[in-house]
Amino acid sequence: MLVVIKTVFHFGPLLFGIGFIAPLFAQIMDAMDWAAPFGLNSLVFGLIVGGAYGLVAQIRGRWI
């Protein structure tokens, strides 16, 4: 159990990128009537952006 919790916290930025930023980005796009590039739907595009941002934060240890 402890190992699972430590792993979850270790990958916190990546999980936050996928779990929160991705749907947030997608819903902002939908609300603003922005179309995702390459014919992607907004959630897939949100996952790419949120996942990539989360991965960068995971590696750098900071969001900004």
Binding site: I5, A22, A26, I28, W63
Partner: protein
Amino acid sequence: MSARDIAAMSDTELMRVEREIAAKHLNKFPYFAVFWAFANLAVWLALWPLVFLSGLPLWVAFPIAAVTITLCYLPSHEAQHDIIARPGTRLRWLNQLVGHVSTIPLVLPYRIAKLTHLEHHKHTNHPEWDPDISCAAPGPLSAIWQTVRENQPRAKGGMNSYGATLSRIGRPDVVLDGVVYNLVFYGILFALAWGGFAIEAALLWWLPRHVALIYIRFFLSWAPHHPGLSVGRYKDTRSFRSHLGNIGSMGMQYHIVHHLYPRIPLYRTPRAYWDLKPILEARGCHVSEL
């Protein structure tokens, strides 16, 4: 008592007079802080159904959420110092209830807040042992930026340093409170986001919490201890004049009184400050701004 009388006093006499003055402001029940704890939490909780069911615009709800989350810390702070009720007294349950519930929106467990805050009092401005020393910065803008930096995932200071403080004082078990709070917080955020309410979750909790953390750090940790270089009872905290006034600075202009007598309720610190000011000046405290 004139300034000349005070200047002629010995250390022992100064301390006696200081304690006599402080005693007038101790053991007062902070009715407003108790009301504030529950009313503030109720307002923040009410925002959720109001936004989801009644169509309260998010642009209205967001600043209200930011203000309520910012204000949620201070009632817990009164509880951390047993100001509402001391251990073993009839209303102790109320003290603990206020401590636990008021900081829920801030995702700050009471036991972590209390234990680390008491360490801050014991070791104010100590470069290694003060858990809040990482907010020290040369000016107001850099203080805000410093808090943003300390909130990053692998930052060494800020709340990330609280685990080390708890280990140092022999209470690593309390870290579990933080684990539970964070799992629940992020679990709710993720569930809301994937349920189609990411913008609501961001503007009612995630972003207001970050605003609150910056505001609280600025006025409770940075401003009263700036420049954060001196240690000692009469040197580690100062009074200051805020452009936002005493309410806008959450009563922290008189924080020096709180560090000298932590059990004086927040609402009494201005009066206690003005009563104590001649003594503080005689002691060489940093009280020139106010």
